[in-house]
Amino acid sequence: MTDPGPSPPPEQAAETGTLAARIALKQRAGGIVVPIFTVIFALVMSGIVVAATQHSVHTALLVYKEIFDGAGLNWIFHPTTSLLDINAYNLSQTLLQTSTLILTGLSVAFAFRCGMFNIGGQGQYFVGLIVANWLGVNFAGMNPFAHILLCIVAGTLAAAAYAGIAGVLKATVGAHEVISTIMLNWIAFWLASWLFGDGGPLQNSTQPTVPVSNQVSPGARLPDFWGVQGFQGVHIGLFIALAAVVVFWVLLNRTTVGYEVRAVGFNPDAAAYGGISVKKNFIRAMAISGAFAGLAGAIDMLGGTTNYQFGQLDVPFSQVGFIGIAVALLGRNTAVGTLFGALLFGGLLYGSFHGLGSSSVIDPQLAGNLTYIIQGLIVLFIGADVLILYVWNSRKKLRRPPAKPAKPAEATAA
């Protein structure tokens, strides 16, 4: 798989002989070292916060264990397929969370590969969710397969069009996509607040004073493949998300569209010189990026992650689009990396919010906020690979003093 990181300086590229040299090269370019170091660093930092505020290192260690258990990862030690088992149930919920984050992560990653920062995943997620809810509530009695397909396709396309606005603005008048996607985010935010709020068009028709939407009609719900009656099961959205990972990889690495996207991402001027329409690719990449986020919103709505409905009060607490940024950055904007990033954040989110819900170790409310701290640290430090590579390289320098001086800044200069 191609690394999205900057290409190494020529004198380093020359030494790519052995496998070890190539791995070293990748590490120097920040391949996998930076994400792993960042995660470890963020976890340690948040542990320090807990230890300092709770005046106990022991508590901090227990919190790690609680989050691990809360995410259902101790299921590995005593596996069972029954969801009545608490570990299996926790794991299933982590997987649900992960499938959404895979899609929002892919959304951010795709735009990144075209050299754009789609910060508007949250807004595009809302658009997908709104459209899926609207179509899912109406057209009851349709053939279930057709109904689900309609909701998903329409939600995805609507979000693609919504993100496409930012692409068109960038391509035609050069408006920076960060600014326009932030604005589109908040437009979608207030639109959702209005639609699902009291008196809004999509608000519950049977309870006019409750600011939530109607429930999606049973025919449009995604079937569970692992679950028991009465509990939230794992729906086939997980497979849709995994399929999206494959689509992302094939699209980016094995098609002309992907080649053009990557070419524009590496160097728009060179791509234009090579006959690739940069403007067309800005619009197309942004739309595809939005499609991934819209798909996430649609499967969340149809899969019952939000109990088949969405409320005005849920709007400010929905953060999956933003977490997608951390997921993509951690995954270095590759398909597989995003998958692992989503798994990490899925576990963290569910493990800290719900796994600690019954905990006596630490106030569960604290743990939820801990996830935001970890997320913030990861995003902050993943962008600062110069720092981490400097530490990495100076470690090697310490071991081999006579080696020629490393040039960390040069290897990663943007």
Partner: protein, 402 residues
């Protein structure tokens, strides 16, 4: 173009020929069209708003043909909006009008605009020096929490202000280190700051207050009364918060510093062409550090207004800024990276928030939609439909010393 000689010969026709004045007059008439239909004048026929609005739109079109597109289209929009609002107002009942449009609408506009002015001016300093600051939202949130914490524990709002400014500056210093020295992507770094601020404020709010509301009786930011009585002006601008007055002063100070002092020239040089600035001996890193820290201090002061001002009333809520940092960013862009422009945009956005609150007498759900206005306007502004906004040339580009 009229020459100075022509202007001196016939001042009236010269000023009429000056498209800028015509455009401004158009915008004023557009506002007047809506204003005629609401208290205190409250014309109950649609004739006057429509007439005045049409004149405003015509002046706008004329201005556009003279090359001042941004101003001209603004006047056209003001005229059309004025007619629409005027018709709506004449259709609605007198009591509702009285509730929605009174002097407190003005006071609330300033109140909603205050945090935006601080945030927008902070962002302006940072971006004028060449560092994009997406982290305004997070810095504001830090100011909101640590400000009310300082006021609670320190026993005085002044302590709160100092704590907020200090924490805001500190967060900005960390961000500046990442953005300037480590040359990390500024958008990514700012996003990280925003996440981190949500986590830190949320964590310490639970930790320090055990998830209870902050106790009553926290020393609040005081109001300063300059006009007493029961007249329109006393209610509208007579009794504003200390930070609101400070925000007015800040706009003037920001303008003078940025455009009339050597320091301002250096800041702008670093934002436009850092290499050239470096060549003539300006320490680009130092200027950028100073500007980013200043932006954090100002954003945090905007944030403390949310928790310690008249609306917050000494309380803190999880993620209470709720996008205001981004509206401030929008105001800065809409105002074209200029102090007066950013201030005007912040007032406009504050007005739309105040109006959203007031219009709840008509329909609660539709009033929510008014919150969208700042974002739509900014989107239109960056799209260049009504004139282009131009960022500093080196905005967002890390500088490598050679």
């Amino acid at each position: 173009m009229s020459t100075w000689a022509a202007r001196l010969e016939n001042p009236l026709s010269a000023s009429l020929r000056d498209a800028r004045a015509t455009g401004a007059l158009g915008i004023f008439l557009g506002a007047l069209a809506a204003f005629l239909a609401i208290p205190p004048i409250e014309a109950r026929t649609v004739t006057w708003p429509i007439l005045v609005g049409i004149v405003a739109a015509a002046l706008g079109v004329w201005t556009v043909t003279r090359g001042r597109r941004r101003l001209g289209w603004g006047a056209v929009a003001a005229g059309v909006l004025g007619i629409g609002l005027g018709i709506l107002a004449t259709r609605s009942s007198t009591e509702n009008l009285g509730t929605a449009f009174d002097a407190t609408l003005v006071a609330q506009t300033f109140s909603f605009a205050t945090p935006l002015v601080f945030g927008a001016l902070g962002g302006m300093f940072s971006e004028r020096s060449g560092v994009v600051n997406i982290g305004l939202e997070g810095m504001m949130l830090m100011g909101a929490f640590w400000g009310v914490y300082g006021a609670d524990k320190g026993g005085s709002w002044a302590v709160g202000l100092l704590v907020a400014a200090g924490v805001g500056g500190l967060v900005a210093l960390v961000y500046a280190f990442f953005a300037i020295h480590l040359r990390s992507d500024q958008i990514v770094g700012g996003t990280g700051v925003n996440f981190l601020a949500v986590g830190i404020t949320g964590y310490f709010f639970v930790q320090l207050y055990h998830n209870n509301p902050i106790p009553n009786g926290v020393s609040l930011l005081p109001n300063i009364k300059i006009i007493s009585g029961n007249n329109f002006f006393a209610q509208a601008i007579g009794d504003l918060n200390i930070l609101t007055w400070a925000s007015f002063a800040l706009v003037i100070v920001a303008y003078v510093v940025l455009f009339k002092t050597p320091i301002g020239l250096r800041i702008r040089a670093c934002g436009e062409h850092p290499r050239a600035a470096d060549t003539v001996g300006i320490n680009v890193y130092a200027v950028r550090y100073g500007c980013v820290v200043l932006s954090g201090v100002l954003a945090a002061l905007g944030g403390i207004y949310l928790s310690e001002g008249p609306q917050g009333n000494g309380s803190f809520l999880f993620n209470m800024t709720n996008g205001r940092g981004f509206i401030a960013l929008a105001a800065m862009i809409f105002g074209n990276w200029r102090p007066a422009g950013a201030f005007g945009a912040a007032i406009l956005f504050g007005f739309s928030s105040a109006l959203a609150l007031k219009l709840q007498v008509y329909s609660g759900s539709a009033a929510t939609l008014f919150q969208i206005l700042p974002y739509v306007l900014t989107l239109i502004a960056v799209a260049g439909v009504i004139g282009r906004t131009v960022a500093p040339a080196a905005d967002g580009k890390p500088y490598v010393r050679q």
